[in-house]
């Protein structure tokens, strides 16, 4: 089932009656989610990603715009009639019911021709439990389960009625780091197995990048960029997206373009074309640095962090926006911290420049 969002907007009225300051939580969201894909809505808190999810679920009504499931306009349809599965951030498992009763609950609500016999329900509940690998926990209460197990039960409960769309609100935020890695693979596997169009919300870019077919990066209610994770990483539309994706984060410098050359501070790092002379923000991915004794970018080394396969060199540069510049270089390159300075050349496709005025990407040609 594809999901189409047309000019979706959500405005919350001001809480204070005297001032008429409205909060635009989501502004003009226009996107078609292809059938059977896993989509990650990504952004910092307060960016409108959860609001978007709740509008798709019907728990919140859009101020304007339309939502389609396939060809059906569901904008005015209440949550009950949308046929969605929703996994809440804290799972919202009914504490007084066993796992089995929790999973059966949605099935017992089915009416009319969807109505099932007890055996069919048990069968379906068992299948859903098997899919998320909790079939041995069916008689436990939620309070007797670990966080990861509760998460699986919540997913099973959402999946058991074969929803048209599966929505997950921060599905991994209540899990510890190790379980998070495992569970995100689980979500990926379950989504692939069921083929249900799935939308999930997260503020963790790594999580979104690692399992999504497509990610939607949002900021302050406005969609910044939509695309496959690698494409968005390699080709960010603006400084916000560039900064938001990637660990360690991108290094940002004050720079300028002058006479066909790109300067980082006073260092001319690249010869470029297609950009008029101006002040710019320069973003360089950590993996874009190459150690080179004659390289144009001169930094002052502070520390070296060995990460096994790679080495991260922490240094300073007068034009850097952040206090420290972090580069990742191959561990084969022996690095001597005793040096006064460290010089780099920059891989051209790992360097992005952005307008100083609106932080939009400025595309350039490498000469």
């Amino acid at each position: 089932m594809k999901i189409v969002l047309q000019h979706l907007t959500k405005i919350f009225p001001s809480r204070n009656k005297k001032s008429d300051e409205e909060v635009v939580a989501v502004s003009d969201f226009d996107f078609e989610i292809p059938d059977g894909k896993l989509i990650g809505l990504l952004g910092p808190s307060g960016c409108g990603k959860s609001t978007t999810l709740y509008m798709i679920s019907g728990l919140q009504k859009p101020s304007s715009g339309k939502i389609f499931f396939g060809d059906d306009d569901v904008t005015e349809l209440s949550t009950e009639n949308r046929g969605i599965g929703l996994v809440f951030q804290n799972y919202a498992l009914y504490p007084h019911m066993t796992v089995k009763q929790n999973i059966l609950f949605p099935l017992q609500n089915l009416k009319g021709e969807d109505k099932m016999t007890k055996e069919q329900m048990l069968q379906r509940a068992y299948e859903a439990a098997k899919l998320v690998q909790i079939e041995q926990l069916l008689d436990r209460k939620p309070s007797e389960l670990s966080g990861g197990q509760q998460q699986r039960v919540a997913i099973a409960r959402a999946l058991v009625k074969m929803p048209r769309v599966l929505l997950l609100d921060e599905p991994l935020s209540n899990l510890d780091a190790r379980l998070r890695l495992q569970t995100r693979e689980e979500i990926r596997r379950i989504q692939k197995e069921t083929g249900i169009t799935t939308v999930f919300v997260t503020h963790d870019q790594e999580e979104a990048m690692s399992i999504s077919d497509m990610i939607v990066v949002m900021k302050a209610g406005v969609v910044q960029q939509i695309g496959q994770p690698q494409d968005v990483y390699d080709d960010p539309a603006n400084l916000f997206v560039a900064k938001f994706l990637g660990t360690p984060p991108i290094n940002v410098f004050d720079g300028h373009v002058k006479g066909g050359k790109l300067y980082v501070g006073e260092d001319a790092v690249l010869e470029i074309g297609g950009v008029a002379d101006q002040e710019v923000a320069v973003g360089i991915r950590p993996e874009g640095f190459v150690l080179d004794d004659n390289g144009p970018l001169v930094c002052k080394p502070v520390n070296v962090e060995v990460m096994g396969r790679d080495v991260s060199v922490v240094s300073t540069h007068p034009a850097s926006v952040n206090p420290l510049v972090r580069s990742i270089i191959n561990a084969d390159n022996r690095f001597d911290l005793g040096n006064e300075s460290v010089r780099y050349t920059i891989k051209p496709h790992k360097i992005f420049i952005f307008s100083k005025d609106n932080e939009e990407r400025l595309r350039f040609e490498v000469k």
């Binding site: 679920s57 949550t79 929703l86 919202a92 007084h96 609950f105 609500n109």
Partner: protein, 314 residues
């Protein structure tokens, strides 16, 4: 844990409360047991230094043999069994309704809470006035001035008036008035407790139920009631305890005759029985009755707790 050196300080701070409790709670209880077990005890005899009484269970036997005692027991039990479920159910519905509206909630909350802060004798008199027929009824030539507001309403809808509380009224008519009064009087406290419980239920359970297209009655029965079960158990248990101590409501409506004029004492309860015995200087009988009442309340509460163990979640 307080260090043992500091413990005397703890005892010191507790001592005023302990002293008061010993004098006004513990000693009376001990004394009640003593008086209940002393046959033919009376204040007069005791103060005269006459030790004519002997130890035994005679008081209990006497109490059980009283016809009046059985009437009181029956009335009390009947009122409990009728009012506790009705008031709990009504309170639940009112609390759920109050919780689901926004406008006027505060106003309605205040209205529902009013009976709680009003004197129960005063309410009883108002109820009596509402059900009272002014004039003579049940006589050969009835001369009716007014039928009372309730009967007026009944007649407005085409029914025949009922003699609720006046001379010649039936036992069941009296009981219905008492049940309505007690239920109404018991509602505010229960609503308050249940509303508090409702407001502490995580809203996401309801959103989850909505996503799963759960019908309303099913949400109430499968989600709200189980999640509210600790509060429900609490109001049921306290309701039964209060119900067994019912007395003022009967005085409020029927006055000290505890029944309509032609059948005084017909609506007496356990507590009423104890008062009566005290008035007649039968401390032994009163104490025995009080202990029987205590035993009944204890057993009912234990049954309640046992039932709620199976039904109350968490």
């Amino acid at each position: 844990m307080v260090e043992s050196k500091q413990q005397w300080k703890a005892w010191l701070y507790l001592s005023p409360a302990i002293a008061l409790l010993l004098v006004f709670t513990v000693w009376p209880i001990v004394n009640t047991v003593r008086m209940a077990l002393l046959e033919d005890y009376s204040i007069a005899a005791a103060s005269g230094g006459d030790r004519v009484f002997s130890l035994g269970i005679g008081n209990f036997v006497k109490v059980a043999q009283y016809q009046n005692f059985l009437t009181c027991l029956k009335n009390t039990a009947l009122l409990c069994v009728a009012t506790v479920p009705i008031s709990t159910l009504l309170a639940l519905l009112v609390a759920v309704a109050l919780n689901s509206i926004k406008p006027l909630r505060k106003t309605l909350q205040t209205i529902f809470f009013l009976p709680y802060v009003t004197n129960s004798i005063a309410i009883g008199m108002v109820f009596a006035a509402m059900f009272n027929i002014v004039g003579s009824v049940g006589t050969r030539r009835p001369n009716i001035v007014t039928l009372g507001i309730i009967n007026n309403v009944i007649e407005f809808f085409g029914g025949h008036y009922v003699n609720w509380i006046n001379t010649g009224s039936s036992y069941w008519a009296n009981m219905i008035v008492l049940i309505i009064y007690i239920v109404w009087n018991a509602l505010p406290f229960k609503i308050l407790i249940l509303l508090g419980g409702l407001q502490s239920i995580n809203k996401q359970y309801y959103e989850a139920a909505k996503v799963d297209s759960t019908p309303r009655w099913r949400v109430l029965w499968r989600i709200t009631v189980p999640l509210l079960s600790p509060m429900i158990a609490y109001v049921v248990i306290t309701g039964f305890i209060g119900g067994f101590k019912e007395y003022t409501s009967i005085v409020g409506i029927f006055g000290e005759s505890l029944g309509p004029a032609h059948a005084p004492g017909r609506l007496n309860t356990m507590v009423g029985f104890i008062y009566e015995a005290l008035e007649q200087y039968h401390q032994g009988r009163a104490s025995a009755a009080a202990l029987i009442l205590f035993a009944i309340i204890l057993v009912v509460t234990l049954i309640n707790l046992q039932v709620s163990k199976k039904r109350v979640h968490y």
